[in-house]
Subunit: 195 residues, 2 copies
Amino acid sequence: MQKILGNLEKGLAFVLSAPGGTGKTTLAKMLFHEFDSISPSISYTTRKPRPGEEDGRDYYFVSHAEFEEMVKSNQFLEHAKVYQDYYGTSRRLVESEQEKGKHVLLVIDTQGALQLMKSFKAIFIFIKPPSMEVLGSRLAVRRSETDEAIEHRLSWADKEISLASSYDYQIINDDLKIAYIVLKSILIAEEHKNR
Amino acid sequence: MQKILGNLEKGLAFVLSAPGGTGKTTLAKMLFHEFDSISPSISYTTRKPRPGEEDGRDYYFVSHAEFEEMVKSNQFLEHAKVYQDYYGTSRRLVESEQEKGKHVLLVIDTQGALQLMKSFKAIFIFIKPPSMEVLGSRLAVRRSETDEAIEHRLSWADKEISLASSYDYQIINDDLKIAYIVLKSILIAEEHKNR
């Protein structure tokens, strides 16, 4: 039976980056919900779980010592420090999903993505806000942070967006429905590419 | 306003090839019907119009002498002989659509496509039948040709299919709905590619 997605013997890896507030988590969830042939890459992190987060589902929560041990033994495809905390992607976890014929979606920040571009075969997708103004107001509406924290996030977002052209694809998330169609089109198209 | 397709200042060119009976005409019509940001490339040909075909809509019908004149003055992006008749794609027609921001879909055979790959910036898509058996029975059902003509078409199809891996993308047309989703996904993805 022909399927829209999930016809490959070895799955592909997709790397998704976007400044906070651009909708990457929502878009990723939509993909996992529609396609069982896409697996999330669950990161290792040293940050503490937030309310509702579960070990092994949202992240693998580890200590700084454990994280450093994994770095030393070369277990990470990439790892990065974001606001005092460490995040890393396990090479073994990603590859084992691909071997099962599943595509793996890695949602990681630009630092991690740039590391991966040098050493790892993946398709790199950047999600952009329609403008910095829209991003600022989206973050303000969340009301979970101080003005200073929002300022800091915006200036970091600006740095991240300047790297968008190093990615294979760019999607503007203005209308979520359209951004989602574009995102899944990229996955479907890439599956049908001659390599 | 963000659109699913048609956001570029200069449109892209897509080249679609497939053996006869694989559904390329149906798939192309579905694209033109859904997206007004995709224009067909209307070929010049020396073959006589079939019933219902219209000059300037289906083809530009020209004499052998006119066609040769156009070849000499380098007006074709590609041209090829298919079963005694000549077909050619006008460079000017394609470029003028692209300048308007429209994507252009060129439905051409493998000979023409291979010429284009060397000299023209386009995205090359090959549509395959699920198998030669299925293609044979699809052609037989049409009942418009002798067994010998069908045999000839099948052996030509076999040659064309052997070139599929030179294209950027391959789509198997087993289920028409799925093949169409894949085809439009390729167009949408390509529009969002960093170039």
